[in-house]
Symmetry: C2
Subunit: 257 residues, 2 copies
Amino acid sequence: MGQVDETNPEPAELLSRCFDILDAFCRGPAEKLTLADITRRTSLPKSTAHRLLASLVSLGALERTGPAYQLGLRMFEIGEHVTRKRDLREAALPFMEDLYEVTHQTVHLAVLDGTEVLYIERIQGHQKQRQLASRVGGRLPAYSTGVGKALLAFNPQTAAQIIKTGRLQARTPYTITNPKLLLEELAATRKTLLAFDRDENALGIHCVATPILANNQAVAAISVTGPANTIQEERIGSAIRTAALGIERTLGTNPPT
Amino acid sequence: MGQVDETNPEPAELLSRCFDILDAFCRGPAEKLTLADITRRTSLPKSTAHRLLASLVSLGALERTGPAYQLGLRMFEIGEHVTRKRDLREAALPFMEDLYEVTHQTVHLAVLDGTEVLYIERIQGHQKQRQLASRVGGRLPAYSTGVGKALLAFNPQTAAQIIKTGRLQARTPYTITNPKLLLEELAATRKTLLAFDRDENALGIHCVATPILANNQAVAAISVTGPANTIQEERIGSAIRTAALGIERTLGTNPPT
DNA sequence: TACTAGTGTTCCACGTGGCGGGACGTTCGG
DNA sequence: CCGAACGTCCCGCCACGTGGAACACTAGTA
């Protein structure tokens, strides 16, 4: 019933390479890339990259100014029509606003994609200087973030995969790199429906997270993130669970994916 | 200096077709499409569409559940990295919030793309039932919208093109379909920096708009939109110009594109 | 000025990989 | 029981994408 196929029938070479190029713009803060940059990041032959770039530009997927390429408005337009994101966002936003109202900390909405967490939405009041690592459309490892652990708790096969492939790299001295410890935490999260991040992803930053469940699957997670000393875990825990229940109810009214 | 090339060196057929498919998801409210739907919308041979869809799925550009395809998270991720949109949004959002605070009407941010207006951002308080035609990532004709006319006023060649190709279709009885009238309005907008929409795009909806200028080019436009009787043009006009100046100043601090 | 190392652009013979008509299996509604 | 509409699969043909190599241009260095 409604399974997502994960086959790999050799996508057209040309296409695959084009997406490599588009992905090149999603890594690192550099957002205008030159032909040479792209050949480096994708290790494509120069002339091939050149040709593909020309095609992408003529399709509006990229825009070119002089020697610099950047993602085009057409990609934005398509991205805004991604239903999974749209539905989630619409359902979650009001409750995220409530959470912000109560906590005055940054509120995140994220989903699991592969072994990483993809941020769908973020609310932070009036652009504080607080530079968090997160960013809408950005990715972070699942095992070192609150939302990530909330999601992993309900995706045991993904958790196992992360552990098996030895991806538990320390991002701070507090990152959990011990598989057994991580699994214990995930088990606790399954019971309390809360996940925490205490300096594990960035020093001085704490976070309380909870999954959004639908049909016993974690379709997303929300979190409240901020400076260690301002995050009161019990108080935020209640608030965030309340918000999560509201979102689940809203999602339930729409026919589930 | 910094011109965008608009050449057309025959993009790879395969690629062009894939974008046709992706575009198919951006038209109409239908957001899950079946193979047959897609062959209809793109008029591709069935087997070809089938193969391309499989490729797109295996790349994560599309997701498949049973017979239904929808845009994948990867497209969202890429879309969020479109710099032109990101920079504009970041610069404009605070001022748009101020505008909302003052007017309590829907606030739009849009850019010109081809002969249409592409909506980048929208603020509307607590999800009122008010269903406007606009939508983030959506398009509307430039000539019948406030933001569109604000942008056309500073893109005379595009305005000429729209008129020449006879695209002035009436969307309501009040839509301006007379080229001369439209040009006069654009000239007025160039002087006052304000554009109006009075039932021209949708009945009962008025709108006040203004361009965001950088180097004497209109890079975007903002508008305040709402029910005809609640839009006070003079008052909103001042507010929206103030906001526009703030945005222009913010954009100016970043090196212009 | 000459030289080098880095860019972006163009060309073209080669052969891979995309093409799509058509056959097949399945699920509907009548 | 049949036809219609859908998704899947196959396979010979040949267009089209491929990428090495040559070219052009701009620094920066000696």
